[in-house]
Subunit: 388 residues, 2 copies
């Protein structure tokens, strides 16, 4: 497999490459399969302390170390590290960039291959197959096997990471001692699909997108992707969080009653959103955004089982920790309760907590001591049980 | 004043033109001032039965008759007509296109004028002044005077129309016997400002916008405006309404598990949103959208009064009818309650109703019998009181 041909600064990601590739839900196969990943802590002799962390839509494998493109701290340093809920002194943490992502795993910006696995000298772009959350999980399963781990102590993830945790438990129950789906749902709601569609429409509307072949012109659809990020970012916050952060404060010396003929960014919240949008495009690929949002939209664990979510978990040996946040309107508590009801109906071992927070969906990434205590306690209990 | 120079099909709107123009909150004056309007019913001999209807962000003066560009029914035909809550057999209804709009009133697509009121042979575009909700109300006041009406029986409006109803009562209390602000707030929230900013960013990102001078190239920023409409439309609906309308239904014969390399519009909700976006651009001007969303964002009745909303209404002779809808998350009931609390603190005459509905913000435009009975009853009581 030759080097990626993306317009991004090249990073020498740590990767496992599987020459035989992966069969996808859509019926296509993709070969070779590359899975970029990072690990933290040490695998014990019994190989029983491995915890897989699954990242969200725009996350990556750099969980607890600086991001190689932005230099910003890892996205879950509040949770992962020595003495933290995902204690790297006790557990061996693995996080892989999802299939379809843009941080080294096989995805739209990596080199396209033919059926024989030969590189075609151009990125997949929009020819990248239509993938599902289960395809992402299957790719992670290959990595876990590659690392010599027969059973994971736990699979943990928030948002789209939580979808993966659910899919892991549904697809590979014997491989998952415990699953912690956080701030997530067993299907993507009509409203969430609609917000994704706005983001995709913004990318499609950007002439720099070039029908997905933007590498040919050497540009990226930065403005479209930026608008997509802006609208998504609003859904990650609560009204309270936005109000606390910005309220209706005006920026600097702008004056809405003044004789300005045209104003941009007069409210601080606007400046903040534009900043969020413009920094995002430096680290994320637009075609990956299209691919991964679609995978989320397709996610519906019950649909393939005649609408019976409990059927996904009947007889499961996995223990579950389900957590939601009271002000999360993207994945509201009601959707976590639906998961818990199905797990109860499947007679699964499940604990559920709704964390009172006014920080919205983003709360799972932030400093939420009650959440950290609950997650850490659940994992420690599982580890004690396994003698880790 | 010469004909407008917009890229739209030209419509011969009914207009009142005021050569002396209007002084604006920003310090500029604009002359001449054109106010396009429609009336329904007959003004009685005492001139005491006039009801002003204020339209929302993307509304217009065609309340109860087909839209001249789209041919669709008037936007409030469920409420306005013979025997309806705004009974055209009893009341004389007036609705004006707002200042800054694009259906005949002075706005960004109309011909720019200099300080002496001379036409400059090009549209205002982004040189149109920065306007406020109060400027819109002042323009309507000129129309009401022009029609020979000293006091309105009522000012009624939903969403941005409700902001105007509140501003009317605050600015011209002696001219407003009754005010009905519906599904609205006394200020625009940080979240609502943020959603507007996404829409504006999408318009700015469209290269066809041309820095606002799109008339020069003869095009319109259709894709940017369409994305703006899509995101706004989601905020007008509730999750329940979206789910009931579309759920997760896939369109036609598309198949997410099939070997499709790239899919658009696979969910019905996406097709619907794209349709909403693409039809909107046929009737609405992008620079108007920028101007009017800004005016909404600036709206904060309490801010100019040291944060004391009650000060806007102290001693008011106006009767108020405040209505909200339980599933409206754009203007939630809490914001209507804040208005009611301020009116109570100002010892005003106020009635409040929260209508139970799962239709979201759009409920005020739809068939909601409880709402229609409440609004109709309030207005009839006011009319009885005035002997109309």
């Amino acid at each position: 497999m030759s080097a990626p041909v993306a317009p991004f600064p090249q990073v020498d990601h740590q990767r496992a490459v599987f020459a035989d590739g992966l069969a996808l839900d859509c019926g296509m196969a993709i070969a070779p399969l590359a899975v970029a990943y990072r690990t933290y802590g040490r695998l014990n002799a019994a190989r029983s302390n491995a915890v897989l962390v699954c990242h969200a839509l725009t996350g990556d494998q750099y969980v607890a170390e600086p991001h190689p493109l932005t230099g910003k701290p890892g996205w879950w340093e509040s949770v992962v590290g020595p003495g933290k809920p995902l204690d790297t002194d006790r557990y061996f943490l693995i996080c892989a960039n999802v299939l379809g992502g843009c941080m080294g795993s096989t995805g739209p910006q990596e080199e396209m291959t033919d059926a024989a696995g030969r590189g075609l000298g151009r990125p997949w772009g929009t020819d990248f197959p239509n993938i599902t959350i289960r395809d992402m999980v299957r790719a992670q399963k290959r990595l876990v096997e590659h690392l010599g781990i027969a059973r994971l102590l736990a699979v943990v993830g928030g948002s789209m990471g939580g979808m993966q945790a659910l899919e892991w438990a549904a697809t590979f129950p014997e491989t998952v001692f415990a699953a912690a789906p956080i701030a997530t749902a067993a299907y993507h709601s009509a409203q969430n699909i609609a917000f994704h569609e706005v983001g995709r429409a913004a990318i499609h509307a950007d002439p720099a997108w070039q029908g997905g072949r933007y590498w040919e012109a050497g540009g990226v659809p930065a403005q479209g992707l930026s608008v997509a990020r802006m609208v998504a970012h609003i859904t990650y916050l609560s009204e309270q969080a936005l109000t606390r952060k910005f309220g209706r404060r005006l920026r600097g010396d702008t004056n809405p009653r003044g004789a300005l003929t045209f104003l941009e960014d007069v409210f601080e919240v606007e400046s903040y959103l534009r900043h969020q949008g413009s920094t995002f495009v430096r680290r994320f690929d637009a075609n990956s955004y299209l691919t991964i949002t679609r995978a989320m939209d397709y996610f519906d664990l019950a649909a393939e089982r005649g609408g019976d979510l409990a059927a996904a978990f009947r007889g499961t040996p996995t223990r579950f920790f389900v957590a939601s946040f009271s002000s999360d309107w993207l994945f509201p508590t009601a959707e976590s309760r639906a998961i818990v009801r199905a797990l109860n109906a499947a007679a699964a071992n499940v604990s559920f907590v709704e964390i009172t927070s006014d920080k919205g969906h983003d709360a799972f990434l932030l400093d939420e001591p009650d959440f950290h205590r609950a997650l850490g306690g659940f994992l420690a209990g599982c580890a004690d049980r396994l003698g880790v």
